[in-house]
Symmetry: C2
Subunit: 201 residues, 2 copies
């Protein structure tokens, strides 16, 4: 069975990456979403193994020492990381694996999996991103301003990604993402042995 | 308006490239099929400007001298080539242009348009290709044998292409091709200025 492909998705807050991935996963049942691990406390409404794998700080540090993480980072005093085994098992089983990950973690994954597919989700404009962050109504003016500043910094890294998906209309962005996954499965580098197999007949 | 992308498609005889492209063009109305020019005589059932642009040998040689062709080749005493202006006009107008072209012509187009997308269509197996060529019932045993030999030679060039589409089931192959076109439109290199445009807001 051919191995699956690894897709890394990054986006600034408010670009709709969660919704895009949720819908894409519903439409393509060969896609597997890799749940991150974290040492931060579970929040109301979150489920272990769905939102995150919730670990104690000690458990997380054991995972780091044991080489069990593809990448990890510390943010606001909490660890966040990508468990390695689930990803490699799924790839071996032919599943295509999606990692939702911020730009630094993405760059680290790229070093370990140079053949991975890097997708960056863009807002249609900063004005629209501003509008969306305000619409949520959950954050203070100060937090929104900081998020927009961060978005601007993150966007500069988009040029290191393979694909840019602009989320102007959700359905189009989902279809763009699914087309990227489908096309990447046809990419010659992701089909090792196919030509040789035919020629050996 | 963003420019269109150029897609070069090659395949050995019997791999179904005509049918795949016909159906893909029907499903994506931003795709434009570039009709080749030839100096061979029109056959019954063919239409000028649809099957080919039919030219006299002299007209074709004038096109060569005038630099009006992206690439051309001589095969069995007849010229075949790709008119340049229609392609570049359509790309400028934002249309995505498909060239159906054999491996040598494809390599020449790649030199002129290094950013073009190269798609190679594969048969599921040589046994199946053999069966399909026999099923047509239009060619002698000798011609079929030669076509299979040529297919084997052409297949060795597939490794220079970006994408491999295996035509095992027609509908899947059409959807693979359409996904490739859609994904390529999102490829960062095909979206010049998008990140800069956002950052300049």
């Amino acid at each position: 069975m051919p191995k699956g492909i690894l897709i890394v998705v990054s986006a600034p807050a408010g670009c709709g990456k969660d919704t895009i991935l949720e819908q894409a996963l519903r439409k393509n049942d060969n896609l597997y979403y890799s749940v991150s691990a974290t040492s931060r406390a579970m929040r109301p409404g979150e489920t272990d193994g769905v939102s995150y794998w919730f670990k104690t700080r000690e458990q997380f540090e054991d995972m780091i020492k044991g080489g069990e993480l593809l990448e990890y980072t510390e943010y606001c005093g909490n660890y966040y990381g990508t468990p390695k085994k689930a990803v490699t098992d799924m790839l071996e089983a032919g599943k295509d694996v999606v990692l939702k990950i911020e730009i630094e973690g993405a760059a680290n994954v790229k070093k370990m999996f140079p053949g991975c597919t890097m997708v960056f989700i863009l807002p249609p404009s900063f004005a629209e991103l501003d509008r969306r962050l305000h619409k949520r109504g959950t954050e203070t003016e100060d937090v929104i301003r900081k998020r927009l500043e961060t978005a601007r910094k993150e966007l500069k890294f988009a040029e290191h990604y393979d694909y840019l998906v602009t989320n102007a209309a959700l359905e189009d962005a989902v279809d763009d993402f699914l087309a990227i996954v489908r096309a990447e499965k046809c990419r010659k580098d992701n089909c090792p042995g196919v030509i040789e197999g035919l020629l050996s007949e």
